[in-house]
Symmetry: C2
Subunit: 240 residues, 2 copies
């Protein structure tokens, strides 16, 4: 049985303008790998209704899960909930449980519960909430789309809340071996090994270490034994 | 006249697996902003022929420029050149000028020029070369698609070689103002200001600074005067 597949959709002008460097995609890529969920695609789109609707529509049809990051706060530029609702042809509702959580968070901190706070309780009809343990405002899941905050610490808390409920796959075994030779000088032998070990994926990444060019070879596969065999073959082919 | 638009396509299993954190998208987002070229979308896809062809085909139709990163080295997992050729319905050729440069690079370093080195001279028919000044192997441009290496130092050198040849837009003026209040407590007033200054984009980003939650408000616009006016209005609305 093959692993579940996933895509990430990062929503945010601040990433596209170069102002902010993405953290959320990188974090999610790591934790999905560890659970055997194959991240197959990432997209970054601006805070634009049509762009979000288009990307969600394409990604949710193509992959088992879609994780979105950004645009669910209280301000005028937070348009993700409406776009997700539009992508599913659903209305937006004020969720009573979300409202209860946000009210409780405000009360505990002596913050007035205003129309702006209430805005964070707006979710597509029928969505389920994603808790985060840090702020009152939840994320939400509609069908196979998990909608989370962009602030990295809250994003990570929401990811931690969502993942246990998803079917896991078989995490790949990943090992690497560094060769102190430029990539092109090992490419011929490496191609033959990649054909011999066609049941594992062998990737090759040029890199500099202490001013010398070398190559990091990464082997990924479902079978730890075969990955180990491939690494042993690499050590034999390219001795240290 | 509106600014030129662009998309970035990052090709690489190593990003999707969480092994490597992207640097190239972040770098390019910054330099495109500075030249008034609007980055509208980023995609990350695996080292997979159909995924690359699909993404290139969609992005090159939607934006003025597409910049790709990764998959043009000498090894078996470098499949970008073939995928770009397929996306354009062109054949792959050994480019004589690319071959001359790679040979020269090898000669200067006492490296044998092999079939694997020659592989890096394979480009789609009719493509023009992108120099990088660091290694012999060039990137290439086909129509509006600029194909560059994934190694960050070489990617940046190729970007520096490509950008001067592209039409520039008008760089947006970007200024920010930090308010020591949580986002929801300023959202109402901010919404009114955003409507008043509808000719600039006002983004709102919650953040923690020394344990206190605050909000960074980012104003972007074509007119430095209007951006300045908006910042002044923010300072009045939310005094320090």
């Amino acid at each position: 049985m093959s692993n579940p597949t996933a895509a990430v959709l990062v929503i945010g002008d601040e990433i596209l303008s170069g102002r902010t460097r993405d953290e959320n995609m990188y974090h999610l890529a790591g934790v999905l790998s560890a659970r055997g969920i194959d991240l197959r695609e990432v997209r970054v789109v601006p805070d634009d209704h049509a762009a979000i609707v288009g990307a969600v529509t394409a990604l949710r049809a193509a992959y088992d899960h879609v994780f979105t990051s950004g645009g669910i706060g209280p301000t005028h530029d937070d348009i993700t909930a409406d776009a997700i609702a539009a992508a599913f042809g659903r209305s937006i509702v004020i969720d009573p449980e979300a409202e209860r959580r946000i009210r409780g968070f405000c009360q505990a901190r002596g913050i007035n519960y205003t129309a702006e706070e209430q805005r964070m309780a707006r979710i597509p009809a029928g969505a389920t909430l994603i808790d985060n343990g840090l702020s009152g405002a939840p994320g939400f899941t509609v069908d196979n789309v998990h909608v989370m905050a962009g602030v990295p610490i809250i994003f990570r808390a929401m990811v931690a809340a969502v993942l246990p409920g998803l079917a896991q796959g078989r995490p790949l075994t990943v090992r690497d071996y560094r060769v102190q030779r430029p990539e092109s000088s090992i490419a011929g032998e490496l191609r033959i090994l990649a054909e011999e070990f066609s049941d594992v994926a062998i990737g090759s990444y040029p890199s500099m270490l202490e001013g010398r060019s070398g190559t990091t070879i990464v082997v990924r596969g479902a079978s730890p034994t075969r990955v180990g065999d491939a690494i042993a073959a690499l050590v034999t082919a390219f001795p240290a």
